[in-house]
């Protein structure tokens, strides 16, 4: 649906900065405790052309089905909602082979959840990061 059909979003989205060797971009990311890996939409990876990919492909199983993803390494991933900003360097991420597979970056348990205890305060609509 279009034109005014947006409903209020209650997703655990955070503000992230993504850096490849030569470019950087900021976008939104879903904090997803159900995801084992961190993923980046193909559309976003394409505007970071200096990313280098491994030859191997990874098979990803999600709620929407199974898809293949390429493996790459970000120069840096920064969580901007956290004070001070949390930086993850040389972060390995998966990029789906096809566009339209992901609507936003997915922060899985491989990096962010290893550094922070993350609490979802559903009633207060708040997401809290506590450094471990």
């Amino acid at each position: 649906m279009r034109n005014g059909a947006v409903r209020t979003l209650l997703l655990p989205l955070v503000h992230v900065r993504i850096e490849s060797p030569e470019e950087h971009i900021e976008t939104d990311a879903l904090v997803d405790s159900g995801a084992t890996r961190t993923l980046i939409p193909k559309e976003i990876a394409e505007i970071l052309p200096s990313l280098k990919y491994k030859e191997q492909r990874a098979e990803v199983t999600g709620a929407g089905g199974v898809f293949l993803a390429r493996v790459t390494r970000l120069k840096k991933l920064t969580l901007k909602n956290v004070t001070p900003f949390a930086n993850f360097v040389e972060t390995e991420v998966l990029v789906p082979e096809h566009e339209g597979t992901l609507p936003y970056v997915i922060l899985g348990r491989d990096y962010v959840f290893r550094r922070f205890d993350i609490t979802f305060h559903e009633k207060r609509r708040k997401l809290a990061f506590t450094e471990i």
Partner: protein, 70 residues
């Protein structure tokens, strides 16, 4: 009164229903303003980057109803 600048993320999150015309489109945000939008991120990002080469741009796909029900 001068509008204070917030991050691109905070600006988009504050828009709520006003994002209706951008549903299922990619938007590029800079300084409390959507500076480019469209269905192809590569194209809209290029358009925005040509106008603002030194700035860090915030990009986001505005989700449709079907995406929001996760």
């Amino acid at each position: 009164m001068k509008k204070s600048k917030v991050s691109g993320f905070e600006y988009v999150m504050s828009l709520g229903d006003k994002l209706g015309e951008y549903v299922e489109k990619w938007i590029v945000v800079l300084d409390n303003k959507i500076v480019a939008s469209g269905e192809n991120l590569k194209e809209v990002y290029k358009e925005a980057k040509e106008k603002h080469p030194q700035e860090t741009l915030f990009v986001m796909k505005v989700p449709a109803d079907k995406v929001m029900v996760l």
